[in-house]
């Protein structure tokens, strides 16, 4: 069950492999392709029952229509407004926590570390009622910063795990040498460790961006109007209005999916590095 490298096989196998991969990919992405195709299908095609054939023409109007008639632009902007501060906040906080847990040896180090790790795994529902209540009491319900504050706090768990493991792998000698020269701890953090953490910061930033952009649960719990709802929650409520108008649902879905997809393709290396950290040692 572990195939020989394809270079070492005969041309017949090699060619059939090269044919098989795109076919497998096509089947794999069938739901996505179907929706992409539907998003440029004119409404008249759907009415006439042309669900699967080629669209009679490419109706990019569908996209224009949703921008014109729905607040989808606003939703997309809201997502950006929530996501970017969250990325900055969570990465900044976890650089510090990761540094503290990765560099210093103190008694409760491991305990605190595993508290972050465990907290990162809890079901959202156990947090829902108190967090919603807290957000209401602080008067930040239905605002981007109310939502972002929670996201920053929660993502700090995952990011700390990531950063701490990354820092553990850095050469300790560098820090020891700096200490001998009397460099203060804060300067060590800022001038020595932080520059080395750049790849980790990039990887985390991409990952957190994707997680937050795609969050639906907290968006529904902590926001409720189009002034602050991100695209996931917005799409869900638009779906309630677009009953049976699959060309619009599809166009909206594609729009919602684009930013994280773009982020993934632009920052692919960092993205995969982030996801797989810890998977291989």
């Amino acid at each position: 069950m572990f195939p020989t490298p394809i270079e070492k096989t005969g041309p017949a196998i090699r060619i059939s492999y090269q044919v098989a991969v795109p076919i497998a990919l096509f089947i794999w992405l069938l739901p996505l392709l179907g929706v992409a195709l539907t998003s440029v299908r004119p409404a008249s095609d759907l009415a006439q029952g042309n669900y699967f054939g080629m669209p009679s023409y490419l109706a990019f109007d569908n996209y224009l229509e949703i921008f014109r008639n729905t607040p989808i632009g606003r939703y997309l902007l809201n997502s950006l407004i929530v996501t970017i501060p969250t990325v900055i906040g969570a990465v900044a906080l976890s650089c510090m926590t990761g540094f503290a847990l990765g560099i210093y040896r103190f008694r409760s180090n491991l305990l605190i570390f595993f508290l972050f790790v465990a907290g990162n795994f809890v079901p959202f529902q156990i947090l829902m009622v108190p967090v919603r209540d807290l957000t209401l009491k602080m008067g930040v319900y239905n605002t981007w910063y109310g939502l972002a504050a929670f996201h920053i706090a929660f993502q700090t768990g995952f990011c700390t795990l990531f950063m701490r493991n990354f820092i553990r792998a850095l050469p300790v000698e560098l820090i020891e040498a700096a200490r001998v020269e009397g460099v203060s701890e804060i300067r060590i953090f800022w001038h020595i460790v932080l520059p080395l953490m750049r790849p980790a910061i990039a990887a985390l930033a991409v990952l957190v961006f994707t997680f937050i952009w795609n969050d639906f649960f907290w968006a529904t719990v902590l926001t409720n109007s189009q002034d602050s709802q991100p695209i996931t929650a917005g799409l869900s409520s638009l779906n309630g209005q677009w009953v049976a108008q699959w060309h619009l649902v599809s166009a909206g879905s594609i729009l919602a999916a684009l930013p994280p997809v773009a982020m993934f393709f632009l920052m692919q290396r960092h993205f995969i590095a982030g996801l797989t950290l810890g998977a291989v040692k």
């Binding site: 069950m1 090699r14 991969v21 795109p22 990919l25 794999w28 739901p31 996505l32 179907g34 929706v35 669900y51 699967f52 906080l93 976890s94 510090m96 926590t97 503290a100 847990l101 560099i103 491991l110 605190i112 972050f116 790790v117 465990a118 907290g119 795994f121 809890v122 079901p123 529902q125 156990i126 947090l127 829902m128 009622v129 108190p130 967090v131 807290l134 504050a149 706090a153 700090t156 700390t160 200490r179 203060s184 701890e185 804060i186 994707t210 795609n214 639906f216 649960f217 719990v221 695209i231 996931t232 799409l235 869900s236 879905s253 919602a256 982020m263 993934f264 995969i272 797989t276 998977a279």
Partner: protein
Amino acid sequence: MTRPALPASSAERVSRSWWRSNQRRLAPWLFLAPGMIMFAVYVIIPIFQSMWISFYDWDGLGEKIWIGLDNYRELLDDDAFYTSLKNNVIWLVLYLLAIPAGLMIAIFLNQNVWGMRLYKSLFFFPFVISQVVVGLMFSWFYAPDFGLFYRLIELLTGQGIAVLADERYVTYGIIAAGLWPQIAYVMILYLTGLNNVAPDQVEAARLDGARGWRMLWYVILPQLRPATFIAVVVTVIGALRSFDLVSIMTDGGPYGSSRVLSFYMYEQALSEYGYRMGYGAAIAVVLFAIMMVFISGFIWKMWRDEAER
């Protein structure tokens, strides 16, 4: 700072040198403080608050009324709770299929041919997309009368199946939607793992006559152990967190048959027809307890790895 009073001019110097001599002890706490405070306020403390709220009858507006264990007693006699629990088990078991499936795709794609990098990223694609979008895509896929899947079944059996309206299939239909991105995720974990599989060991095993399943089981899998561990962790967590897809695709229906605990909790505590914060919290506590079994297992293993270092 505990020294007897000194002239003002040197006080500053003292506190400075005090900082200097103690900074290695204090610095970690200063660095930890902001993150820990945020995490405590939004994650750690709410867990205990939820447990507390689960002993109350509370509609989120009025007074909380202490009712002790009544919420839990009601849970024991609640059909919808058992339906959700059963579905959670189905989710958990079937979600684990993502691991062998992801491994198979990873092995299939683990070749060096032209364009492979692009193929790999395209296979990974579903994971990047929001579950809301995945849910909508599969709703379209399953839609009665014109959905691709419905048509396909109709073609094969002569009778289409409205997957999302049939209590027999609905949960499986949603899980299939969830497996799509999850398999992609597991695949990427294994692809990275496979990069690090020592080719000489594989060759050596091949010379020894190992092939097929034996090769996979005795030579490859042991080397992929770290990837498998992470894959199990993210898959179990993903299965128990399943909320988005249920909410988008069926809203728990038909007649509640596709509910899972996470969704049922939300439905009881925050939805149109229910504002039972206490009861919802009790469901959340049960879900948390189930999750805790797994979390403890993961943490225990990671703790052991740390200690071995």
